[in-house]
Symmetry: C2
DNA sequence: ACGTTATGTCAGCCATGTTGACTTATTGGC
DNA sequence: GCCAATAAGTCAACATGGCTGACATAACGT
């Protein structure tokens, strides 16, 4: 299969004007029907992240900084260990960007009240301002994408994305989405299985 | 807004069992309602890419190799310049991974028939086999995500992702999704605007 | 007092993106 | 047939953000 002399994929994603056609009718979606998703997901994510990237670059920051800002905003008083569990990166990777954000006054660290070893993380006003900018530009893109779809699209799009997440990670994400601290015990550490 | 002393986000994404709730009813989706998408998109993309990453690692390859394999499979005889237009990376970045793929026999280069300066790219049988593995594992995840949603979910999910793509890039992606060579003239070069 | 825990830090590696400059082969127009 | 333009390859150098393993410090709890 997939002979190099083949003439290329022959799915008939006919050009029905402006909307993308789904997998043809009622046939179970074949592998070849789903290839488009791989591309759509890639291009969508690339454009989704490029808006904030452009803003962050003005501050000398990158995507990694964005993630830290985002989750600290989401869960004020987040502990470093919790952030590591969410991002699933190493202490060292986090330390690099976190130090910058703290040094430049975007994030504030406070020792925990009950356990003073903990460094609880908070956004400063400056950090909140930057994060708001990033959130707004991404929200605008999402709104635009939803606007052209019917009602019910919101719930369905959320559930589609949620279903793309590895099953064991879903409880953690679901909790996180509510802005709550997540129990990470079941989430997969590396990749899957 | 977003005071550091705030108690955190207070959206009521109530836990309605297993499915994620959409933005509450009919109110226009507020900024805070859309934050969940940012997280869902991040986690979904992370898990989506981790399956192929694990396989690629066995070959000493990375995500960049995957993209090359994918698009060469999609459009056999792709020119290097076309690939650069699709991936929007620099010649140097592409050269590194492409050279590896060619040297190790996953991709075959043939001078163009009409213009022998062109290097048309094709998958070898070996390359096709690897690409199939990667496609299949990702297709399985997509199928799983769609399976739990109603009919019509396929079209809607595709259109949602398509809508997330920067408008100027959509014609290129639409053409690509059909497995055709894309006219890239309107697509945005760097990021947006 | 001591082992555990939370965090920070050091040195160094890898993948993949970037730039600018230069080479080579080939084409197509004159 | 000459020559500018084009397709591609290549070199050196750099940035970001992952990774590892090892070790330091401070605070907690028994």
């Amino acid at each position: 299969m997939a002979d190099i002399t083949s003439e290329g994929p022959s799915e008939h994603l006919g050009a029905t004007g402006h909307s993308l056609p789904a997998a043809s009718d009622d046939r179970p979606s074949s592998l070849v029907d789903l290839i488009g998703y791989i591309e759509l997901f890639y291009f969508a994510y690339r454009d989704f992240t490029c808006d904030p990237d452009a803003i962050l670059a003005q501050y000398g920051f990158g995507r990694a900084h964005h993630r830290v800002l985002h989750f600290v905003h989401r869960i004020p008083g987040l502990k470093v260990a919790e952030l590591l569990d969410i991002l699933k990166i190493t202490k060292q990777s986090l330390a690099r960007v976190l130090k910058q954000l703290v040094d430049e006054g975007f994030i504030i660290q406070k020792a925990g009240n009950e356990d003073r070893r903990e460094r609880r993380l908070y956004l400063s006003a400056k950090g909140a301002r930057l994060n708001d900018k990033l959130t707004q530009i991404q929200a605008k893109r999402i709104e635009g994408a939803l606007a052209n779809l019917g009602p019910g699209a919101d719930a369905l799009a959320r559930n589609f994305l949620f279903g793309m997440i590895t099953e064991k990670n879903r409880p953690q994400v679901e909790t996180l989405i509510k802005g709550q601290r997540a129990d990470t015990s079941e989430a997969v550490p590396d990749c899957n299985t």
